[in-house]
Symmetry: C2
Subunit: 188 residues, 2 copies
């Protein structure tokens, strides 16, 4: 149901506060208005565009620094990181990520985003993937943004072993999930 | 133990016949002689260099054509293909495939080689990866060549489902293994 401007702008503020990585396209669809209307709403409400919001979230929340690899070797953009706890990255699916035939994202790019996030979340200079069990739950198309969320599940520092669960979403739909078993330095 | 020239050349011929993708470096190490000696042996025995051997094996054995994706979207070079049975590809690990810190190949490139081979071996225009379970058994360094071997394990055409096992080797050492569950078109 379409809402009047005041209602829409209030809901828009709430929506962006709770899901800061939502695009103008997704907002337009959600509120059944044009993208132009959403842009005007954002202007009136002084809400910056998505790219600025990502940067600002990243600056606020990146308290830790990636240790296990240079940051530019992470596939996707890290927007949240607490070492040995959790991390979030965003990957925009562009034409180099898809099968030419059907514009569906190739599995290894989703795997690369998740695996490099599982490496990045480790609080150690050494982090190697030993095993992984993964599932592709729905196809991802060119133009979609994949938000990967990594969570450290088991941490056995004396044995030098960590399990990391990664779930990746487009909007709020699960598209990929995986469990990565990682080796790290032994700490006695 | 070092062998005399005649013994070495006989063994060299046998070795190349049974493992045609072996490099001159690996042969030199195996026979404890210099690479130059191996090159001279090959010249005397009229055995072409590795690149030519790969091409020739590929021309002899590629009876089938990849259906599920354009051949240039396969990661690695396909040297053997029998649709819905088995396939082999070779990936040379170059500097763009490794972590800058330690020259170890990044897991997602081994995954990409194996996954795209699992897609390529499917005798169908549609082949999508649903699940995978993988293991990295030893690190792969820059300069090594990874030979991936895919084998179709279960084929349930009416249900549109195929399992493909992929094992990847450097020389004869297993470096990666995975099982991929693939969706394909249903055929009744």
């Amino acid at each position: 149901m379409r809402k009047n401007k005041k209602e829409r702008q209030e809901l828009l503020q709430q929506t962006i506060r709770s899901t800061p990585f939502i695009t103008d396209e997704e907002l337009a669809e959600k509120f059944e208005v044009s993208i132009q209307t959403i842009r005007l709403d954002r202007l009136e409400l002084s809400i910056p565009e998505l790219r600025e919001r990502i940067k600002s979230v990243a600056e606020q929340t990146l308290q830790d620094e990636v240790k296990s690899l240079p940051i530019d070797e992470v596939i996707g953009e890290i927007v949240d990181l607490n070492l040995d706890e959790q991390a979030i990255s965003i990957l925009e699916i562009k034409d180099e990520h898809v099968f030419s035939r059907n514009q569906i994202a190739r599995g290894h790019h989703l795997f690369a985003q998740a695996n490099s996030l599982a490496v990045a979340v480790i609080d150690d200079e050494l982090a190697l993937t030993a095993k992984a069990s993964i599932r592709f739950s729905r196809q991802v198309k060119q133009g979609e943004r994949v938000v990967a969320k990594a969570k450290v599940m088991n941490l056995d520092k004396p044995k030098g072993w960590t399990a990391v669960a990664v779930n990746s979403y487009v909007s709020e739909e699960l598209v990929f999930s995986g469990t990565f078993e990682m080796y790290r330095s032994k700490q006695t």
